[in-house]
């Protein structure tokens, strides 16, 4: 019993779900739902269909090369069951999963940082151009001028004294 990967969207195919297509050259294709199968039949390239994981990885929107992704790999060597090995593996799986999630999130964060930079600049330009919608140009100026005058008077008084 294993969870397969959908050929088109790379989503999980649980046992009892989805369909499998076998081609004449004996290559099998699994699909998680009829949407993926229909797209496949229309000969669409998953690397160009925007909503698939294949596209996201191919266009660099998600973490592709990382050593925490190397852990999940289909090995064609059968290993005999050993209790401690299995329990250790499950523990390791948990940790790796946590790290993988963090790293994927970090990758996306880094990718979107540029956007933040652009946003920052935009905000600054927005403030520079249209501050008059909120504050009048010499909003605090009268007060400032008054204070200046007060200061001057005080200075004069000081000087007088």
């Amino acid at each position: 019993m294993r969870i397969e990967k959908c050929y088109f969207c790379s989503g999980p195919v649980y046992p009892g779900h989805g369909t499998m297509f076998v081609r004449n050259d004996c290559k099998t294709f699994r699909f998680c739902k009829s949407k993926c199968l229909k797209n496949f039949k229309k000969k669409r390239n998953p690397r160009k269909t925007r909503w698939t994981k294949a596209f996201r990885k191919a266009s660099g929107k998600e973490l592709t090369v990382d050593n925490c992704l190397e852990f999940e790999k289909r090995r064609n060597v059968a290993v005999k069951y050993q209790r401690e090995l299995w329990s250790k593996t499950v523990e390791a799986m948990r940790k790796v999963e946590g790290i993988k999630r963090k790293r994927q999130a970090q990758f996306i964060f880094n990718r979107l940082k540029k956007g933040k930079q652009l946003e920052k600049e935009e905000a600054i330009s927005e403030v520079k151009k249209n501050i008059h919608l909120i504050k009048a140009p010499h909003a605090g100026k009268a007060k400032v001028m008054e204070e200046k005058m007060v200061q001057k008077l005080q200075d004069v008084e000081m000087v007088d004294d």
């Binding site: 019993m1 294993r2 969870i3 999980p12 050593n67 925490c68 852990f71 999940e72 790999k73 289909r74 090995r75 290993v79 005999k80 069951y81 050993q82 209790r83 299995w86 250790k88 593996t89 499950v90 523990e91 390791a92 799986m93 940790k95 790796v96 999963e97 790290i99 963090k102 790293r103 970090q106 964060f109 946003e119 920052k120 935009e122 905000a123 600054i124 927005e126 403030v127 249209n130 501050i131 008059h132 919608l133 909120i134 504050k135 009048a136 010499h138 909003a139 605090g140 009268a142 007060k143």
Partner: protein, 617 residues
């Protein structure tokens, strides 16, 4: 026919059938219509054809019978003798001879009558000649009734004979009736011969096949032989004798040690000695059967001496029991080995061998040293060999377990698993965790990660930008809501209230206190005062013209510009109002308003169309 294909002989019809078939065939396959007024040669030809056709049919059929039945001289002497025993050679030959004679007679009859028909001068005469010819042929056939019946029976029996190949390796079982020959053949081959307690259960020869040393062997079971001279033997025994005489096989003489067959050992020995001449040039084996009842060692001294004598002569005596299967395999292997050796010897003494031998050369590597190097047989092959040779009970199978335990049985395949720790065999093995296959993970690797610190300074700028965006959106929404239709008037048309101005500027952060001396405030006061003064002076006589008080007095209002006197002003106003009436009635906003409030009013489009049009009903 040199082949032993007695199954392909055509069916021999009875004489009546024969006649019927031929005559009806003649009627069907030859033309049937002839008239008196036809030309004579045509009539003659017509009838001659019929006669010839009938003759031809009989001839063909009878020839086929003659060729199908085997000639006793052409087939193997074993079969010839067997057929003699079963069907009597003389009778057989006689029957076939009769058929031959009949064939010739029919040919002659046809020849004669065809000759006669050449001189027939009328239809009637030719017809009579034809009738005579056909009649004579049919009478000849009627006379063959006995022969035909006999031949049919022979054919049926022949086709049911067992196919014994006289040239291949054969084991022949012989002995008194009821000694256990048929049981033996049942055990050794897949044959299913009837085994019963009465004598002469087996009434004819039976063949079984078995495999040994990758070769096919025939085992022939014979009916029992009794001890009397050859002339007094009946058909059944003669079959056994024939087999013994002609088949080049290994002979297994079966004896009943326990004397259950009804004959003593002496009598059995007597028979053995009598038929000994038949065993010349044949490997011989004595099978002491029914040893589960009585063993040779339990016999009396005299009887044991018999067997000792036989062994001394060089004939192997083997004890068997077809009931417990003890010794059956030994007999088989011994007999086969002996026969093989005999056959090989025979071939070696023949002429053809030298041709083959001259071309063969066995190369043996020269010995290097005295070290013995036996052939290496792996353990598995050794075990396999052992199981092949002797029937040893194999290990206990799951099926045996199931039968033993009955209802309690559970198929438990995990007990055969070969793991590092045997006590982990019955563990429940996890396969999937949180959408991942456990089988895809092996070595974990743990690593740490750092978190990013947020930037504080930008927060303020972001907030301001947010406010700006909100305010902008609000303004857009307000302007959309204004619903301005018609020409856009410049800002100077509207009067701006002092209060709103001060409020707006205050919101933007300017200090609006103490602005009484500002330009806009002064203007506002001036316009107000002027308007009020005007009103005080001419309150009764002057008609209030418009609201445009904020404008300077030099610019006349629109509805007063170009109007000479109040009468004209009144008229102008009236005209305006008249034009507006229509539009007001229809609810139009202006001249260019083409909007239809209800494109499909229900009362125009529903109901029965009585009087009226689509525009009104």
């Amino acid at each position: 026919m040199a082949l032993y294909n007695f199954k392909k002989i055509m069916v021999v019809p009875t004489s009546k059938e024969f006649i019927d078939i031929t005559l009806s065939k003649t009627q069907r396959k030859t033309p049937t219509v002839v008239h008196k007024h036809y030309q004579i040669h045509r009539i003659r030809h017509f009838y001659m054809r019929k006669v010839k056709f009938t003759q031809q049919n009989y001839h063909d059929r009878l020839s086929q019978i003659l060729t199908d039945f085997p000639k006793l001289d052409d087939i193997h002497p074993f079969y010839a003798d067997l057929m003699n025993v079963l069907y009597d050679k003389d009778h057989y030959k006689l029957a076939l001879g009769q058929i031959n004679i009949a064939k010739n007679l029919i040919d002659n009859v046809s020849k004669d009558y065809v000759r006669l028909m050449k001189y027939g001068d009328s239809l009637y005469r030719c017809k009579q000649l034809k009738r005579a010819a056909l009649g004579r042929m049919c009478t000849i056939m009627k006379r063959q009734k006995q022969s035909l019946e006999y031949l049919e029976q022979v054919r049926q029996h022949l086709s049911r004979l067992p196919t014994i190949d006289p040239n291949t390796r054969t084991l022949l079982l012989c002995g008194y009736p009821n000694v256990g020959k048929s049981s033996f053949i049942n055990k050794v081959t897949r044959a299913d011969v009837e085994v019963q307690p009465y004598a002469f259960t087996t009434k004819s020869l039976f063949v079984g096949h078995m495999d040994y040393k990758y070769l096919r062997w025939q085992v022939v079971d014979t009916p029992g032989i009794l001890d009397h001279p050859l002339e007094e033997r009946n058909t059944i025994e003669m079959q056994a004798i024939t087999a013994l005489a002609h088949l080049r096989s290994a002979v297994l003489y079966v004896m009943d040690v326990s004397e259950q067959c009804g004959q003593t050992l002496e009598q059995q020995l007597e028979l053995f000695n009598n038929i000994r001449p038949l065993f010349a040039n044949k490997p011989l084996l004595i099978v002491a059967n029914k040893c589960d009842v009585k063993k040779i060692s339990e016999l009396t001294e005299e009887d044991q001496k018999i067997f000792a004598d036989l062994t001394a002569e060089g004939i192997s005596v083997i004890e068997t029991s077809t009931l417990t299967e003890e010794g059956v395999m030994t007999v088989k292997t011994e007999a086969c080995d002996k026969l093989l050796a005999h056959r090989v010897d025979g071939k070696m003494k023949g002429k053809k061998v030298h041709d083959v031998l001259n071309r063969l050369h066995l190369a043996v590597p020269a010995k290097r040293d005295e070290k013995a190097r036996p052939p290496f047989i792996p353990e598995g092959a050794r075990i396999g060999r052992k199981t092949m040779e002797v029937d040893v009970p194999k290990r206990k199978t799951e099926r045996d377990l199931e039968v033993e335990m009955g209802d309690d049985y559970i198929l438990d395949l995990q007990k055969y698993w070969d793991l590092m720790n045997q006590d982990e065999k019955y563990d429940v093995i996890p396969e999937i965790w949180e959408g991942h296959n456990i089988a895809d993970y092996i070595d974990p690797d743990i690593m740490k990660e750092e978190l990013k610190v947020k930037d504080e300074e930008m927060q303020e700028i972001r907030q301001l930008a947010k406010q700006i965006r909100e305010k902008r959106k609000l303004k857009i929404v307000c302007s959309k809501d204004k619903d301005v239709h018609g020409p856009r008037l410049p800002r100077t048309v509207k009067k701006v209230e002092r209060k709103t101005l001060e409020k707006e500027m205050g919101d933007l952060g300017l200090d609006m206190t103490g602005k009484d001396d500002s330009h806009y405030a002064v203007n506002a006061r001036r316009s107000r005062s002027v308007g009020v003064a005007k009103k005080r002076k001419r309150e009764a006589s002057v008609i209030p013209t418009s609201r445009t008080r904020s404008q300077s007095a030099s610019r006349p209002p629109r509805d007063q510009s170009g109007v000479r006197d109040p009468k004209m002003a009144k008229q102008a106003k009236k005209l305006m109002k008249n034009q507006q009436k229509d539009m007001n009635r229809q609810g139009k906003k202006g001249e260019a308003d083409r909007h239809v409030f209800d494109l499909k009013p229900k009362h125009l489009f529903s109901g029965k169309r009585k009087s009226g049009t689509n525009d009104h009903r």
